[in-house]
């Protein structure tokens, strides 16, 4: 099982979980947790963010899986590695030949490593980091160089007489200039020492973060002396560049200047004088304008420096806003469903109506996806062709202006980016090579474009897509609008439906989902990785979430019922005991009579049997009474947790009852390996808050509750 999924669900080797395999509900036992380069970024193809709780990867031996599908020896996914040193062009050739080879077997067309989703996410991330690694330091270094320039220029200005004296006594220009460059270099060395320290620390933190996010098997941050040296050299280069101007000024200062104070700066009539606007400026404004005009270069560089600083701010906020905007548009305007279900295989349209009758489903809109290759002239692109319900509400085409575009009843709508890649415009005809079923090849008109924020997609009316596929009303899945309180129940039903291959919950549903599952608020965990813990030590405290009046009433009723049940059970025990005693007496008498020959041995055995039966009955009644006692305890505990029942001295008369902590104690002595949830928050059943501890013998789970069923 993939690590992320196992951790998100608190599963460990040895645990079991259920899965629908080939339409049958089967129990699987976890034998190991693993990582795969294919899933460093564990995400379903259509999702924006990984959802490790609901999407994971399971690996089984091909034999076992083949047997489960009655397809021993078959395969449906193959990875190839090209010979080392093979040219890039070779990849396209291999793909083309592979496609030809696999086409008769229903091959869905091969793709290169660049299009592999984990590889793409990871390499995009690396590329983005590279850009950040160049752009941000450049801006910072630019600002630093500018600051050094300003500071040293001021310094040269104030030290001009000292400079001149040194020159008068025979210090050369190089020595004087070098002196000021050294100023900058000292600043760089000090900055580099601090920066290297912070950089190494931060690099490690970020590396660790990446390793965790992408589940890299190895966490190693390596910044060799070469990297540090390069960073110092680049910084020194920028600083020296900033210092050069000042150094040049210092060395150009004529030594005779020392003989007299600095002459007043030379001013000439400037722009406002030439334009005759002098009288519109106050005296103090004239100072500002003329000062700026006297040193236009300096004013320009100052402006540039400030501009760059603003750039940093804007860029930082831009990324934050952009992600938020995309998420908002995506979840509010585009994907408005709470739940998306995907069937294992395309189903007849009536499946949608069946889905609509599932508990909590308010609305169901079918969709059809078909893997296809779009071809226009020499350009091709493999995509999933989306067939949407006409006048659908749950999945809409929304452009950047947030206007909704209707799916035309005929033809295809492409995202702008995809149209660019294929070089098509509305009105052009595309060749669609379907990579499923009978693999029809059709020409379709581009009916319109939509500039969606994410992804490359092609959309059609689901009926038009059905026509293109020469099939009746067929659907691949359905978008659902769900009544939030019923979502957990729906989820458990969907998980067991053999026809449903995948379920993904959207944010709104998720929130309700988590809320309903919530069992308590986890206080902040003060333990850190590596901390030793002793047996019985309190690891965490859970404060039960407040319970509403209805639940409270239910809990009270449950307690009453349990108490009544217990009384009944106790009564049954008494009755059974009395019956047994009666049977024992009968048996004794029968023994006596039998020994005197007054009763037949057969009759004696009869009483023996009756006694044994009553003994068993008493035993059962005692167990039942014990069970009822447990029920009473459980019902009382539930109320206790809700804070409505208080005991003895804890009771606060008149006031609200004191709430009770549920403490989670360490079952063994060991060491904390990982804290999964440090901050205070509401936790749900089966959400692990700590991971395993190092034990003398083996790994053991410390989760606060049993693993998810």
């Amino acid at each position: 099982m993939s690590e992320a999924f196992a951790q998100a669900n608190g599963l460990d080797p040895g645990d079991t979980l259920g899965a629908v395999i080939n339409g049958r509900w089967q129990r699987l036992r976890i034998v190991g947790i693993a990582l795969s380069p294919e899933y460093v970024y564990e995400i379903r193809g259509t999702d924006l963010f990984p959802d490790n709780k609901r999407f994971g990867v399971l690996w089984m031996s091909r034999d076992a899986l083949g047997a489960a599908f009655d397809m021993e020896g078959a395969f449906n996914d193959v990875s190839l590695s090209l010979a080392p040193g093979a040219p890039d062009a070779m990849e396209a050739e291999v793909i083309a030949r592979l496609d030809r080879l696999l086409e008769p077997y229903g091959g869905l067309s091969a793709y290169g490593r660049r299009e592999q989703i984990s590889h793409r996410f990871l390499s995009d991330e690396i590329a983005q980091n590279r850009v950040f690694g160049i752009v941000l330091p450049s801006i910072f270094l630019g600002v630093a160089a500018f600051l050094i320039h300003i500071v040293l220029s001021r310094l040269v200005g104030t030290q001009r007489e000292q400079i001149a004296v040194l020159k008068a006594f025979g210090y050369g220009n190089l020595a004087i200039g070098g002196h000021y460059v050294r100023f900058a270099v000292v600043a760089v060395l000090a900055g580099a020492a601090v920066g290297t320290g912070i950089g190494l620390w931060w690099g490690r933190v970020v590396g660790e973060l990446y390793a965790q996010f992408y589940r890299f098997p190895v966490r190693r941050f390596d910044a060799g002396p070469g990297a540090v040296l390069l960073a110092v050299l680049v910084s020194a280069g920028a600083a020296v560049l900033g210092a050069l101007g000042a150094a040049r000024r210092a060395s150009a200062l004529p030594p005779a200047e020392a003989m007299q104070p600095e002459p007043p700066a030379s001013f000439r009539p400037g722009l406002i004088e030439r334009l005759g606007l002098t009288r519109f400026f106050s005296l103090t404004s004239r100072i500002i304008v003329r000062d700026l005009e006297r040193r236009p270069y300096k004013a320009l560089v100052s402006t540039m420096g400030i501009a760059l600083a603003v750039v940093i701010l804007v860029v930082g906020h831009y990324f934050e806003d952009a992600v938020r905007h995309i998420a908002e548009v995506q979840f509010r305007n585009v994907q408005r469903d709470d739940v998306t279900i995907v069937f294992n295989d395309p189903r007849p349209a009536r499946a949608v109506y069946e889905v609509a009758y599932l508990p909590g489903v308010l609305r169901s809109e079918p969709f059809r996806t078909v893997p296809a290759r779009l071809r226009h002239e020499h350009r091709t692109r493999r995509i999933a062709l989306f067939g949407l319900a006409p006048e659908g509400e749950l999945r809409r085409l929304v452009g950047q202006d947030l206007r909704t575009i209707e799916v035309p009843s005929d033809g295809m709508v492409l995202t702008t980016r995809l149209a660019e890649i294929l070089g098509v415009a509305p009105g052009d005809r595309l060749t669609v090579e379907v990579l499923e079923g009978k693999r029809p090849v059709r020409a379709v008109t581009v009916a319109g474009l939509v500039d969606e924020l994410v992804g490359l997609s092609a959309y059609m009316d689901v009926r038009a897509l059905n026509r293109l596929m020469s099939e009746g009303g067929t659907v691949s899945g359905s978008f659902l609008l769900v009544d939030p309180p019923v979502a957990p129940h729906l989820y458990s039903v969907l998980k067991r439906l053999p026809a449903v291959g995948g379920v993904s919950f959207r944010k709104a549903a998720l929130a309700g989902f988590e809320e309903t599952l919530a069992t308590g608020r986890l206080s902040r965990i003060e333990l850190h990785e590596g901390d030793p813990v002793g047996r019985g030590m309190v690891l965490a405290r859970l404060t039960p979430v407040p319970i509403d009046a209805r639940t409270l009433a239910q809990d009270r009723a449950r307690l009453d019922a349990a108490q009544a049940e217990k009384r009944a059970a106790d009564a049954r025990v008494e009755r059974a005991r009395a019956a047994l005693e009666q049977a024992q007496r009968e048996h004794q008498r029968a023994d006596e009579l039998s020994s005197r020959g007054l009763k037949s041995p057969q009759e004696r055995e009869q009483t023996e049997l009756v006694e044994a039966t009553y003994a068993k009955e008493l035993e059962a009644a005692v167990f039942a009474a014990q069970a009822a006692a447990f029920q009473v305890d459980a019902a009382r505990a539930a109320l206790l947790a809700a804070g409505s029942v208080t005991q003895g001295a804890d009771a606060a008369p008149g006031g609200p009852a004191r709430s009770t902590f549920i403490t989670v104690q360490s079952p063994i002595r060991g060491r904390v390996l990982r804290v999964l949830q440090e901050s205070e928050r509401v936790v749900t059943t089966a959400l692990p808050s700590w991971s395993s501890a190092i034990l003398p013998c083996s790994r053991s789970s410390w989760t606060s509750s049993p693993p998810m069923r």
Partner: protein, 223 residues
């Protein structure tokens, strides 16, 4: 202008060939915008070994300009300056720097001390690049600052600050010592000042001295 010295060697020989500094037709014109200001107009001058010369003139009469040109700090608009037989007017920046380092000592109107260096270090800054300097401690003792060697300029009184540049100038044992109003900002009370001692003693090491001042009374009396 007075040349000052022992007079035992070639001093006061009166021959042109023996002149340490010889200026011919020195002219310096400053272009102040559209106006040309003639600071010097055809100055001829010879300074001999061992002489002590005081240059007197009203403010703006070109005293500092002349000293700058003689000291190799500035170049004339026209005319020639010879240091022995070296033509300073044709020397480039680098040669002038070397000339100043090897032969010239200056005491400026403003003290121009490096505030972040002690008195001793301020002097050492000059002796470090000289060939046969005095020990900075000795030169400071000569001007009566033997007790203030490790004081920073801000810790010295005005009069003491004034004497550090003198120690600095004599410590390198220059061939020519040029002083531009060395005592003008705060003249020490007449008579019993210790800097003349320093000067006169330094001068015994065969130094030519030039002093320019705008004081009509000849500046200060030397004991």
């Amino acid at each position: 202008m007075v040349f000052f010295g022992e007079g035992t060697e070639s001093g006061a020989s009166g021959t042109e060939a023996g002149a340490v500094l010889r200026a011919r037709g020195l002219t310096k014109v400053y272009h102040m915008g559209s106006v040309d200001v003639h600071a010097l107009r055809s100055v001829n001058l010879e300074l001999y070994r061992g002489e002590f010369v005081v240059l007197l003139g009203p403010s703006g009469s070109g005293k500092s300009t002349l000293l700058n040109i003689l000291g190799g700090l500035d170049v004339p608009t026209s005319g020639t300056v010879y240091f022995f037989d070296h033509d300073l007017t044709t020397a480039d920046d680098r040669e002038l720097t070397r000339f100043r380092r090897e032969h010239m000592g200056f005491v400026f109107q403003f003290y121009n001390l490096i505030p972040s260096l002690t008195a001793r270090e301020n002097v050492a800054l000059v002796t470090e690049i000289s060939d046969h300097p005095l020990d900075p401690d000795d030169s400071l003792r000569l001007v009566g600052l033997g007790e203030r060697l490790d004081h920073f300029p801000s810790q010295l009184s005005g009069g003491e600050q004034q004497r550090v540049p003198i120690a600095r100038a004599i410590s390198k044992r220059p061939d020519v010592l040029l002083c531009d109003e060395p005592a003008s900002p705060s003249p020490p009370p007449g008579g019993s000042c210790r800097f003349p001692n320093g000067l006169s003693r330094a001068s015994t090491r065969s130094t030519s001295g030039g002093d320019c001042t705008s004081r009509r009374d000849g500046g200060m009396r030397f004991s």
